[in-house]
């Protein structure tokens, strides 16, 4: 008995406050502004931005997850604090009352968590389909594809999908444009508002093509055509990084791309094609293919290991022993 209690009061039954309602009101008061702040203040600054359809969806997804998760976090933390403050044992009161379960609490918990999990499953599936693969590589046979037309040529303002082959090798990226004569460039230029299909591959080890602001990330595996889609939504520059540890200069394997207007893109691509045609670069490149065997020189029809006496073995550019040449 505390010193403030009167004998009469000690004999009266204790009236417990309605903890559930009290917790709900506090939780609601904290959660509502949190959700509003996340959605209207934080969301526009969430990564990876809104430079492409994939990035927009990812930003939206992260915001939805934050809005979904914030009330849960607030509820759990609130319960802990409330329990510590309100239900803390005051002095030596002996053991607490045994708890045999509470159907209402258990049902609320099971229904609430099930609803959240099901909501996230449905939401995640819809968002995966919406931007055609969420900006990630889907392998050589994508399940979800962009609405657009596959064409041998590309025209500004049409619904032609621009095909861009991303080629990784230690430690540079190059990009081939099959709709522009198979020209290749160290610059990644893309047209604004036009659908793009990235065909990501590698000539040596495993790399990962990560166009951060575009929300596109796809592994670059040798001998594999890994397809990822997006539609650039805003002009400007973006960063391309390798996201797979690929050797000592992995950290330096990055460059910058540009999203430009469709007409500017066509001018640039046609110009590079014409220059590479005139300089003989196009003739020196292998015919465009979704993957390459770097041990074979297509123009000669020979395996590199048979050319000029360079030694080698199956699967190796050079053999396990020292090559004769160089």
């Amino acid at each position: 008995m505390s010193s403030t209690e009167t004998p009469a009061a000690a004999g009266a039954p204790r009236t417990e406050p309605r903890h559930g309602w009290r917790l709900f009101v506090i939780w609601f008061v904290l959660s509502l502004p949190s959700v509003l702040i996340i959605w209207f203040v934080w969301k526009p600054h969430m990564p990876p931005g809104d430079m492409s359809s994939s990035a927009q969806h990812q930003q939206f997804d992260i915001a939805v997850l934050a809005v979904t998760g914030a009330p849960v976090v607030i509820g759990v933390v609130l319960y802990f604090i409330y329990a510590i403050v309100v239900w803390r044992a005051k002095g030596d009161e002996g053991d607490g009352e045994p708890i045999y379960g509470n159907t209402k609490v258990q049902a609320t918990w099971i229904i609430g968590t099930s609803a959240i999990v099901l909501w996230l499953a449905v939401f995640g599936t819809i968002e995966l389909i919406g931007p055609a693969g969420a900006g990630a590589g889907e392998g050589p046979s994508p399940i979800w594809t962009l609405a657009g037309k596959q064409s041998a040529t590309w025209t500004p303002g049409s619904d032609d999908i621009l095909e861009v082959q991303v080629i990784g090798q230690q430690w540079v990226w190059t990009y081939r444009y099959p709709q522009f004569g198979g020209m290749e460039s160290t610059e990644l230029m893309l047209p604004e508002g036009m659908p793009v299909a990235f065909h990501v591959t590698s000539l040596d080890v495993i790399h990962s093509f990560w166009a951060y602001q575009l929300g596109v990330k796809a592994d670059a595996n040798p001998g594999v055509d890994n397809v990822a889609f997006t539609t650039p939504k805003a002009m400007g520059s973006f960063t391309v990084r390798c996201n797979e540890l690929c050797g000592i200069w992995h950290g330096a394997m990055y460059n910058y791309g540009q999203v430009v207007s469709p007409t500017s893109f066509q001018t640039w691509a046609s110009g590079v094609q014409a220059k590479e045609q005139a300089d003989g670069v196009l003739a020196a490149l292998p015919p465009f293919s979704l993957t390459y065997d770097p041990t074979v020189i297509p123009q000669l029809g020979k395996n590199i290991v048979t050319v000029d006496g360079i030694t080698g073995a199956a699967g190796y550019y050079y053999g396990p022993g020292n090559p004769v040449t160089p």
């Binding site: 160290t186 200069w249 770097p294 020189i297 006496g309 360079i310 190796y316 396990p320 040449t325 160089p326």
Partner: protein
């Protein structure tokens, strides 16, 4: 021993272990980065001349069969086994590369194209082992490594957009008469001489450069060994205040 004394002893032991670890790491990392000399090129008349050679082997005891670049000291004219050099900022850099190593196909023949040099070209001369010049001052924007077998390695500074295929002796000379003692000399060896120029960046910093021919013989896909080691087929260009 009291609890406080035990805690103090434990703390002291912990600090000793951490200190030894830091010392060892700093010692070895420091040793690794300072073993290679840095060749400093000074500008004269707003230009600087960088001279390199690439050899089929090197003169180290540990990995003598690795292909390697050498850098020429501008004062002593000695060939140093290093790939670290410095140039002044905002300066025309004239590069001369002696190609003693044999021809090797590029993995990505796109890099047969010269990129990032002044005029987008290089000038190539080739000599046989008798000193006979069989190609003279050929200025070109493409050295096709697949059809001609005239590319030994490349000199690439990706961050500056510089990609240069480095000429080699032709296929026949590559197969039979290559220099076998490094650093190679022009006497008695077939070789190519390639020159090109580019502007150094307008601000100081370090730019890494590398070879894009997978020339790590004996390693999977030719991509390890000398390809991934400073002093052999990759290096750094320090841009310093002029």
């Amino acid at each position: 021993m009291s609890v406080a004394a035990r805690a103090a002893a434990l703390g002291a032991a912990f600090l000793v272990v951490v200190g030894v670890g830091i010392f060892v790491a700093v010692y070895y990392i420091g040793a690794a980065t300072t073993q290679l000399p840095i060749v400093h090129y000074s500008a004269s008349g707003g230009q600087v001349s960088v001279v390199l050679q690439e050899d089929p082997q090197n003169n180290t005891a540990t990995t003598p069969d690795w292909v390697s670049y050498y850098t020429q000291d501008p004062v002593s004219k000695q060939w140093l086994h290093t790939t670290l050099f410095s140039v002044p900022e905002n300066t025309k850099v004239n590069v001369t590369i002696y190609g003693y190593d044999g021809c090797t196909p590029l993995r990505n023949n796109y890099f047969s194209q010269v990129q990032g040099t002044m005029g987008g070209t290089v000038t190539v001369s080739q000599f046989d082992q008798h000193g006979k010049e069989y190609v003279t001052n050929d200025t070109t924007s493409v050295i096709n490594s697949w059809s001609d077998c005239n590319v030994g390695h490349t000199f690439a500074i990706p961050a500056m957009g510089i990609f240069v295929p480095v000429a080699s002796p032709n296929a026949q000379l590559s197969a039979n008469n290559l220099c076998s003692s490094s650093p190679c000399t022009t006497s008695g060896n077939p070789y190519a001489v390639e020159t090109f120029s580019f502007m150094s960046p307008s601000h100081t910093g370090t730019w890494r450069w590398q070879c894009l021919v997978p020339c790590g013989g004996g390693y999977l896909d030719g991509n390890s060994g000398p390809m991934q080691t400073l002093g052999w087929m990759m290096g750094e260009m320090d841009v310093v205040s002029s």
